[in-house]
């Protein structure tokens, strides 16, 4: 064996890696779950081609006028049948021939019905001979980067980095403490800093696999854009992972049982799942709580990743979230080193 392989830091890191890879649940949560989530959300919130709206009319003449619009399909029906079709959602609008002209029956709280009202009225007016005052022409765009999937991928990445770093560090350390393994290690000549360092090293190695796997998938399948420098995105991921590793270490530094550790872990992570803008923009929360929301490490991480991926911002432009992340790395790490319970 070479000197490197025999060194305690290498051995400790290798053990961390082996233990992680031999835990099927861990593999699921780290690799499979974020992709399932991205696929699910990608399907649910996909941008569909503009829908063709179903409408009804009481005379064939009206039906023909309506059918001439590409955005509508129309059927002829009497008023009773039409009202029933409206109530059951089979049509969005019923055009009724009256003595004065035409009446539209629809639900104005339904956006699709309001669209149908505009389209139907335009089609009927044009059929009756209306001329457009201004010539208008459509130029359609389908821009990547503005879709929900583009928004949610950096959010999922941040959430995944938080989960794997916190569980990876916190749980393993508390487990070792509970099983008296930590005590046994401390009784050997193992340098203590190497024990903690092995967690960070194995985390960073896993991080490369995890991030490349997830973002590669998002790029290939959804065509999510990468507008900022990739190495800068890498720096963001490393810093995010370090900040959450430090938090995981802090949670694990005194907890004696797994139950206590899971409780603390959820206490730390749950507010961030909701507040930090994983699935929707954090700016939707009231102004009063914004300073608090902005100071959370996950908010900073996701903001910075969206800035890099979607807006192509440089690290210099992302100084504020970077500073917040750095503080979340340094402070919990320093505190946990002071209060860490080795036995």
């Amino acid at each position: 064996m070479s000197k490197l392989v025999e060194s305690s830091l290498f051995q400790l890191t290798a053990v961390r890696f082996r233990l992680l890879l031999r835990e099927p649940e861990a593999i699921f949560w780290i690799f499979v779950f974020p992709i399932l989530l991205a696929v699910g959300l990608g399907i649910a919130f996909r941008n569909r081609p503009a829908d063709v709206l179903q409408v009804g009319a009481t005379t064939t003449q009206l039906t023909q006028a309506l059918a001439s619009d590409k955005g509508l399909t129309a059927a002829t029906m009497d008023e009773t049948v039409g009202t029933h079709a409206l109530a059951t959602g089979n049509i969005l609008l019923l055009a009724i021939q009256t003595s004065q002209g035409v009446a539209y029956k629809y639900d104005d709280t339904n956006p699709d019905a309001r669209s149908a009202r505009l389209l139907a009225n335009r089609a009927i007016q044009i059929a009756a001979g209306r001329q457009e005052a201004v010539h208008a022409q459509d130029r359609l765009v389908h821009e990547t980067g503005a879709r929900y999937i583009d928004f949610v991928v950096p959010g999922l990445l941040g959430m995944n980095l938080m989960g794997s770093a916190m569980w990876g560090l916190g749980f393993s350390i508390v487990e070792a403490r509970q099983k008296k393994l930590l005590k046994r290690m401390v009784a050997s000549p193992m340098p203590r800093w190497q024990y903690l360092m092995s967690f960070l090293l194995s985390r960073l190695a896993m991080l490369v696999i995890e991030v490349v796997f997830f973002l590669g998938f998002a790029w290939l399948v959804f065509g999510v854009p990468f507008r900022g420098a990739l190495w800068e995105l890498g720096v963001l991921c490393v810093l995010t992972s370090l900040a959450f590793s430090a938090l995981g270490l802090l949670v694990a530094s005194r907890a004696k049982t797994m139950e206590a550790a899971s409780g603390l872990m959820n206490l730390v992570m749950l507010p961030m799942w909701i507040l930090s803008g994983v699935f929707f923009s954090a700016s939707r929360f009231p102004a009063v709580v914004q300073p608090f929301v902005r100071a959370l490490p996950l908010t900073a991480a996701i903001d910075a990743m969206r800035g890099n991926m979607l807006q192509g911002m440089s690290l210099a432009q992302l100084a504020v979230p970077l500073g917040i992340l750095l503080a979340w790395f340094v402070v919990p790490f320093a505190v946990s080193l002071r209060i860490f319970r080795w036995k």
Partner: protein
């Protein structure tokens, strides 16, 4: 030879003449409970020394103080001529430790676990040697989670040995093992003794202490209440045999009242105590004393309902000193 090396060799020589372990006035309390109460101990090189006592006697606290895992409130601790304040790292390199109830990661193999522990030591056995010593060759590539209790305990021993320690601490190495696994582990300790290592072990099994240890300290309530070779300690009971009897009155149901003064007058009977209706006598001349006991009972008109004898053991030493059984607690 450069200066530092020379001084290292000199300390080595100085160390080699002194005791392996020296405790003086060691004291440790947890809240109101005095775990270790002014303990003095001295263990020579190459000795196999046993700390025997019931649960809660302070054995584990004592051994963890020796291992540098617990800091005593008072007293001095010296191992191999060094102490934990100034030479902690050096000491950890030179001692081997097996703790009570360490659970090694289930998903590592025996070999991987030993490679990890070997990497902490500057010098030591090869992983192969330690696997061989612990007789785990067949389990080398098995995961720890699939090992039996005895095999796990032997793995813990292998981890303690992999740094080739001069001084080995074993905390209740056979607790919870079945008799066969226990004998297997005893054989392993025998081999280590023969290799000249100093071993300090705790146990609450008297037969284990008798079988393995050259000297034994019996502990109770944080103090050493007896110290010596198992033979010396057993001799201190005053007689080599123990006779236990229970009696009933003339008609079978009445409780027999034994006049113990009459029995104690019999030559060869050294002491008497009653434990849950059972009379225990320590007896030196079993072949002459027993017929006289029978005769004395007949004279008092008592029936013998139970009768047993056994050779005196460390258990009887403990009972004689404390009035309690080792496994009462």
């Amino acid at each position: 030879m450069d200066e530092s090396l020379k001084s290292a060799v000199l300390t080595q020589q100085a160390n080699e003449s002194g005791p392996s372990l020296l405790l003086r006035g060691v004291r440790k309390t947890y809240g109101d409970v005095i775990a270790v109460d002014g303990l003095d101990l001295e263990v020579a090189r190459g000795e196999c020394f046993g700390l025997l006592g019931p649960n809660g006697a302070g054995k584990t606290t004592t051994i963890e103080i020796c291992e540098g895992l617990t800091v005593p409130e008072a007293g001095s601790v010296e191992l191999l001529g060094m102490n934990w304040h100034s030479s902690a790292n050096e000491l950890r390199q030179r001692i081997g430790i097996q703790l009570q109830e360490t659970q090694f990661p289930d998903k590592l193999t025996v070999e991987e676990t030993l490679c990890l522990f070997r990497s902490f030591y500057r010098h030591g056995l090869s992983v192969d040697e330690s696997i061989k010593t612990a007789q785990l060759e067949e389990k080398r590539r098995s995961r720890v989670g699939g090992l039996s209790g005895g095999q796990k305990q032997r793995l813990a021993m292998a981890c303690a040995l992999v740094g080739n320690p001069e001084l080995l601490f074993l905390d209740e190495p056979t607790t919870g093992l079945d008799p066969q696994a226990r004998r297997h582990l005893w054989d392993l300790v025998d081999e280590l003794k023969q290799a000249g290592r100093t071993i300090i072990l705790t146990t609450h099994y008297m037969e284990e202490a008798e079988r393995l240890c050259g000297r034994v300290a019996i502990m109770d309530h944080g103090k050493v209440i007896a110290l010596g070779t198992p033979q010396q300690l057993i001799a201190s009971v005053g007689a080599e045999h123990i006779v236990e009897i229970a009696v009933t009155g003339k008609d079978e149901n009445a409780h027999g009242v034994l006049d113990s003064a009459l029995l104690k007058a019999i030559p060869g009977i050294q002491s008497h105590r009653v434990d849950a209706g059972l009379h225990q006598f320590s007896v030196s001349e079993l072949h002459t004393a027993v017929p006289r006991i029978f005769a004395a009972l007949k004279e008092q008109g008592l029936h013998l309902s139970e009768f047993r004898t056994h050779s005196a053991s460390l258990e009887d030493v403990f009972v004689g000193l404390t009035g309690r059984n080792l496994r009462d607690e």
